[in-house]
């Protein structure tokens, strides 16, 4: 279960913020890291996000993701110098491709940018309960039926994954091989997992509409909520600060700060 639920109970400052303030932070991290393409600037953004992760006490919750994050950063470091050509300071030439200091710095900046973005999203999810997030999304204007559907997906994923793993074990016991062989045979054999999972899921959810309607679910009706969100003074200060910094970062970029390549994001 814990693999599918990222939320970690805690009493940190970040835990206590309204989910809307945390969503504002994620959006602003995306803005801060996207407007600059110099590694010093995107590295600063990454440093700030890492500090928030450590202060919130959720770093251990993210241990499953570190390998993916390092891989993502490495791919960026390799790919962007190949595709984002330009710059005057040649570092070396290999197989007719000129690698410049600027293109390598751009790759490093994008690597920092990507890791900062991923970590900010994970920070939101590790410090916010799904039901609070659902309520925040409706408060931000998402139709209730859509927010309900999204939170239902989060809730039902453990059951669906459990069914899937049971079917996978049962089919492998019957000799279905989805582990080895070429890509085509693995693809073909995986249908033996997907079809029973779909049928099981439809059986499980066949009565869901009746169950939720009998409890008063009307898709487009106005609703009241048991949970309450309070946007307190600390949320106002926090949100105003991150929004100000986002505006400042855009102003800086427009004035030529924080760029290796001025004409690209």
């Amino acid at each position: 279960m814990s693999r599918y639920v990222l939320y970690a109970e805690g009493k940190s400052f970040f835990h206590s913020l309204d989910p809307r303030s945390k969503i504002a932070l994620v959006v602003c991290v995306f803005v801060w890291s996207s407007v600059f393409n110099h590694p010093l600037y995107t590295g600063t953004v990454l440093g700030a996000v890492l500090a928030l992760v450590l202060i919130s006490g959720v770093a251990s919750r993210l241990k499953l993701f570190w390998f993916g994050l390092v891989s993502l950063a490495t791919m960026s470091l390799i790919l962007w110098p190949l595709f984002r050509r330009g710059g005057e300071n040649v570092l070396f030439e290999a197989m007719g491709i000129v690698f410049t200091q600027e293109s390598v710095m751009y790759g490093l900046a994008v690597a920092f940018r990507l890791v900062a973005m991923v970590l900010s999203g994970l920070l939101l999810l590790t410090t916010t309960r799904i039901e609070d997030l659902e309520l925040a999304l409706t408060r931000l204007g998402m139709p209730y039926s859509m927010a309900f559907g999204i939170s239902a997906v989060f809730r039902f994923i453990p059951a669906m994954v459990g069914d899937g793993l049971t079917i996978l074990a049962a089919q492998r016991a019957r000799g279905v091989n989805v582990v080895s062989g070429n890509v085509f045979s693995r693809m073909k054999n995986s249908a033996a997992i997907i079809v029973p999972l779909f049928i099981t899921t439809m059986r499980r959810f066949g009565e869901l509409p009746l169950a939720i309607e009998s409890r008063g679910f009307v898709p487009m009706a106005r609703r009241s909520y048991l949970l309450e969100l309070r946007f307190r003074a600390r949320d106002v200060v926090f949100t105003a600060t991150v929004l100000f910094l986002a505006a400042l970062s855009i102003y800086m970029r427009l004035n030529g700060y924080g760029v290796v390549f001025p004409h690209v994001i």
Partner: protein, 267 residues
């Protein structure tokens, strides 16, 4: 395209959305134990990719939203890949679930049971088009926002989607479609007033399908070629591998795709 919004008025369609998204996300997890990574954190050969074209023809608009949200939750959020690239992922996966049912219920009179050669070929055509569309949209976004280069990602997504969906989805349809039809799981069984297959194929729907095909299949390859420097002198561009030339050419094909979808949406 009204059905994309009116579906939220039906509890059964909301359930179909939960199933589409949950199944897509869950399969990403089930097969995560046997990963075939292509770009870590970005894309892998995923049997779950067969789900959108399959659920699309069963659940219609619910599958479009379901594919978008399923990928967002299963891959971006729980998989630790939530970045600005996820916006493109959301839009691309939305069309992954939208294009198959939209084309089918506008231009093909035969049912998608994949039990005859003509039904199978039509379904493979739909899969080819939807693979091209997603391979155009997601990498275009990642190139635009400086996340990953178009050419590299488009090539991988196109074949990843085509192989996964092209092999598995027809098997799923052949096994599940007759049962789904019998028990009333099809989206037109819930949303009355829509036809699952057309009684008459209109010329603007044919043109719309052609434009979506040109944008998705031809467009993605032309843009990839531009991305490796081919043809750029013809367009008076300096020989660069990313940026303005690629975004210009890709943008033209995205415009063609938008016109095609608009024609398909018109009654």
């Amino acid at each position: 395209m009204r059905e994309l919004f009116s579906m939220w008025r039906y509890t059964q369609m909301i359930t179909a959305f939960v199933v589409s998204a949950g199944l897509y996300a869950a399969l990403l997890f089930v097969f995560a134990a046997l990963p075939i990574w292509i770009i870590p954190g970005v894309t892998a050969v995923r049997p779950g990719n067969a789900i959108p074209p399959f659920t699309s023809l069963i659940f219609g608009p619910a599958a479009a939203w379901g594919s978008a949200v399923g990928n967002l939750i299963g891959f971006d959020i729980l998989g630790g890949a939530l970045t600005i690239g996820s916006i493109g992922g959301f839009i691309g996966n939305f069309f992954l679930g939208l294009v198959p049912y939209k084309i089918w219920h506008r231009v093909f009179r035969e049912e998608p049971h994949c039990r005859t050669l003509s039904s199978l070929l039509k379904y493979e055509f739909v899969i080819l088009v939807h693979s091209g569309v997603v391979a155009l949209i997601i990498p275009y976004w990642t190139e635009l926002v400086g996340f990953l280069p178009f050419t590299f990602l488009a090539f991988i997504i196109f074949f990843n989607e085509l192989i996964s969906a092209g092999i598995i989805a027809p098997v799923l349809m052949a096994l599940v479609y007759p049962r789904a039809k019998r028990v009333g799981w099809l989206w037109t069984d819930v949303m009355k007033g829509y036809q699952y297959t057309p009684t008459q194929v209109k010329s603007h729907h044919k043109l719309g399908t052609l434009l979506v095909f040109i944008a998705g299949v031809v467009g993605v390859w032309v843009t990839m070629f531009v991305g490796v420097g081919l043809g750029q002198p013809l367009m008076q561009f300096a020989p660069v591998f990313a940026g303005a030339p690629l975004l210009t050419v890709g943008g033209v094909f995205i415009l063609i795709f938008a016109i095609g979808m608009a024609l398909l949406s018109k009654d």
